[in-house]
């Protein structure tokens, strides 16, 4: 597979390490009420769709960026890739 790195262009997927569902960005607040339930969902009940999936890849043999890649799990087609940091910052800005 080839991953369209937003900074570096097409890179072989072999350079990356896969983590999983991009929902892992949304770490719950560990001091909040209901944290155990929230963490259980966060860690164990991730998305596993047959189709479009947003997922985390780490450019370990490259620039060490974490990317969010939007990929179809039925066809492996990649629709989009973005820097996880940008997405996380945007999400935090939105949340405030």
């Amino acid at each position: 597979m080839l991953i369209p790195h937003p900074l570096l262009g097409l890179r072989d997927a072999q350079e990356f390490t896969y983590l999983g569902d991009a929902v892992l960005l949304n770490r719950p607040d560990g001091l909040a009420e209901g944290a155990p339930e929230a963490f259980n969902e966060y860690i164990y009940l991730r998305g596993n769709p047959a189709g479009v999936h947003r997922e985390l890849w780490f450019h370990e043999q490259g620039d060490r960026s974490w990317l969010i890649v939007t990929r179809n799990t039925l066809t492996h087609e990649i629709l989009h890739a973005e820097l996880a940091r940008d997405v996380a910052l945007k999400a935090k800005a939105g949340a405030v």
């Binding site: 597979m1 080839l2 259980n40 860690i43 985390l56 780490f58």
Partner: protein, 976 residues
Amino acid sequence: MRLSGGVIDRSKPLQFSFDGRSYSGYAGDTLASALLANDVRLVGRSFKYHRPRGVFSAGSEEPNALVELRSGARKEPNTRATMVELFEGLEATSQNRWPSLKFDALAINDLFSDFLTAGFYYKTFMWPKAFWEKLYEPIIRRAAGLGSLSMQADPDVYDKGFLHADLLVIGGGAAGLMAALGAARAGADVILADEGSELGGRLLAETDTLDGKSAADWLRSLEGELAQLPNLKVMRRTTVFGAFDHGIYGAVERVSDHLPVPGNRPRQTLWRVTARRSILAGGAIERHIPFRDNDRPGIMQSSALRAFANRWAVSPASRVAIFTNNDSGHCAARDLLAKGVEIAAVVDSRGDAPQQGDFRVIRGAMVTGSKGRHGLASIEVSRPGGSEWISCGALGVSGGWNPNVHLISHHRGRPVWDAELHAFVPGPDLPKGMTVAGAAKGEGSLHAALRSGAEAAMASLQQLGLRPEALRLPEVEVREENLQPLWHVPGKGRAWVDFQNDVTVKDIKLAYQENMRPVEHLKRWTTLGMATDQGKTSNVTALAVMAELTGKSIPQTGTTIFRPPYTPISLAVLGGGDTGTNFRPRRLTPSHQWAKTKGAVFVEVGQWLRAQYFPQPGEAHWRQTVDREVLATRRGVGICDVTTLGKVDVQGADAAEFLDRLYCNPMKSLKVGMVRYGLMLREDGHAFDDGTCARLAENHYVVTSTTAQAGPVYRHMEFARQCLWPELDVQLISTTDAWAQFSVAGPNARRLLQRVVDDADLSNEAFPFMACANLTVCGGLRARLFRISFCGELGYEVAVPARYGNALMARLMELGVDLGAVVYGTEALGVMRIEKGHAAGNELNGQTTAQMLGMGRMVSSKKDAIGAVMSRRPGLQLETRVLVGLRPLDPAEPVVAGSHLFAEGAVQKTENDQGWISSAAFSPHMASAIGLAFLTNGGDRMGEVIIAANPLQGQQVAMRVVPTVFVDPEGERLRG
């Protein structure tokens, strides 16, 4: 027999041998053509019945003519004689027969074929139970299999390469050539790959003229033009074996398989080709028409007969017949006749078959039987009203063509049925970027193939955003096939569908009868399509037979898709060059060279090679060496290269906050110039890794991880930084390879270090336990010093830029002679950390928790650190096994890691299991073996005697439960 003409080089005769007999052929021959030229028709035996078999095809789909090529370590089983280019001295041996090809003892199976029908083995061999492994299976295994391996390492060299192109054209026949030419002329970067040694495909096997020129002349001038195009790379002897994601194709180039030995080139090269578009022009495979006893040597594809005659100037016999349901069989007869071969008859199932040459055509007829023990002698021809036997030494059969849809289904797209062509053709669901052209698409006649190749080029260029130039097609004769389907000849007897695996029409009928009707059941029950051709010569025919039985149409009955590779490829080329000790990279520590000169014994630690111990003259056993290293360290000072520990530089205004969230224990309160032990949890609450966190400056930390987890810890830290807390001002960089780090420990450690550091006060007051500093050593070399200890002695770790590591090691040892300095390796390191009760990899195995490690209280409940919440789940909180120390009651008894723990007198079974010994060593300090173990309620059981059971090695040892720290439990040495 050898005919006239052909594209062989008669000026270059070549000697070769088959089953020990010498023969000769010519340059340009394949092993198959050369054998046929020497009238060798019997070349192999079938898998199950050991039936005599001859060459069936002229291509890579060959199911019968498999041989062991070469000898010794280069022996290559199951090699298709049709794809082997003849070279001087070639050695081939028939396989799957004993004692000889002609007299094969297992041919007796054929007599029992009525018992050995599809699936028979599922129904028997069950009694007595023990006989399967002892008797039945060994016999079956010896009888099964095809060729044999040499059991020696392959002496040849293999390579791996990467190619990028706008367009990959797969197949260099008429369609592929037009496609490559059209695309390359328009400026696209094109790779044209063909599995054969020559471009041309079927053009080489037939007798068409193009623009009035012979195919050979036309090809010559075209190749001349191709050679002029710098943006076109032609790869002969290159099989594109798989279509993978995002335009990546796997290809194997057989660089030197046509040579006696590879010389200094690789034998084969694995290419990973990335192409924006591809054109599949892989041609078609002629299908057979099963009839009774249709598997005798001499019976082959009509197209193969034609290819052997035209390209290689050979015929398997002087008198041949053709059995066909379309016009192409007649072309074969015409070509053979022109070469002086006698045509016994063309048997055509069509009532209205044409008369295309001066030979006998038997219309509305079928071949219904054959005779000839080791080769065809005669065929029975039947038609309404009667039958006759016709003598012939070879029979070419043409049942039409199956487009070669292999690669189109690698992304699980299915071919679709074309009712006019009576064939499966590529459907709309192709690998992305692929276009199909020529016979692979069902456009098999020359004019159609040329046109569709050109069209595919135009379409691909458009997709690439390039402007196509008009491409003039050569003028050729327009011909049609006029096929009337005939899938098999009805009647009694055995008619083979899958030659290699001996699957007959009868077997398919039996599968139907036993309700193994879905195509996958049919395949798996009968083994149809599972031979080395993967069903290329059999699947469609079998579907047609099953369709006839079920009364459904062929596409309703099923389709067939293929999996990579297109043709079998050697494991050696897939394994590339990274074999032996090059299998994985090897990382060396900065003091490796020094250690080597000191005679160190090295050990694999993940990717690293580390010094394990340093034997001295007179030491007979490694334990002697390790004991010396340990005692000398505890008595004087020991030095160890600990560079392999992961190191991460953490900087930024929010570094403290970041680290506080990363470690389960508090980090924010760490003062500048101090170090703290840190435990990281995974988010699921289990212990992840431990190490030290040193605050070198207000906003500058260095953290360490274990050697094994250096990569995962860094990845985890980057995840936390980029994905969880991007708002924090913190930067990370891995500096594991940048700094050489040495542990200097022992009562004399301070005195030794004082001799290398520049103007620094190392006194206990100025530089206490857990202090750290940036400083210089050896007259200005920047260094970092940490007062930490893994072994329990007064200890430091000193780090210098990696390139000075070797020199610093030498310097420390030189300067420490009078202080009793000793170098120690990982073995002594391990002993001393067990003596001190420190957890390492065996304890931090991913299954343990802070609580189990005796650090439960370190997990702060006041902050939201990674893993804190989940560490409070009941399953983790109620876990009672904790780390303890163990000592055998009898110091002479061993302590063995991996032993399980039981209460004295308890029955030793899973239910009573109370834990396990995670680490063990002989402690010279204690003069006894000692261990660290996880024991149920261990904290409350100090002094209790338990049993360490190692039934695997027949050991039972009584142990006393003791605290984990065997050396200096008060920590006075550390702080002194």
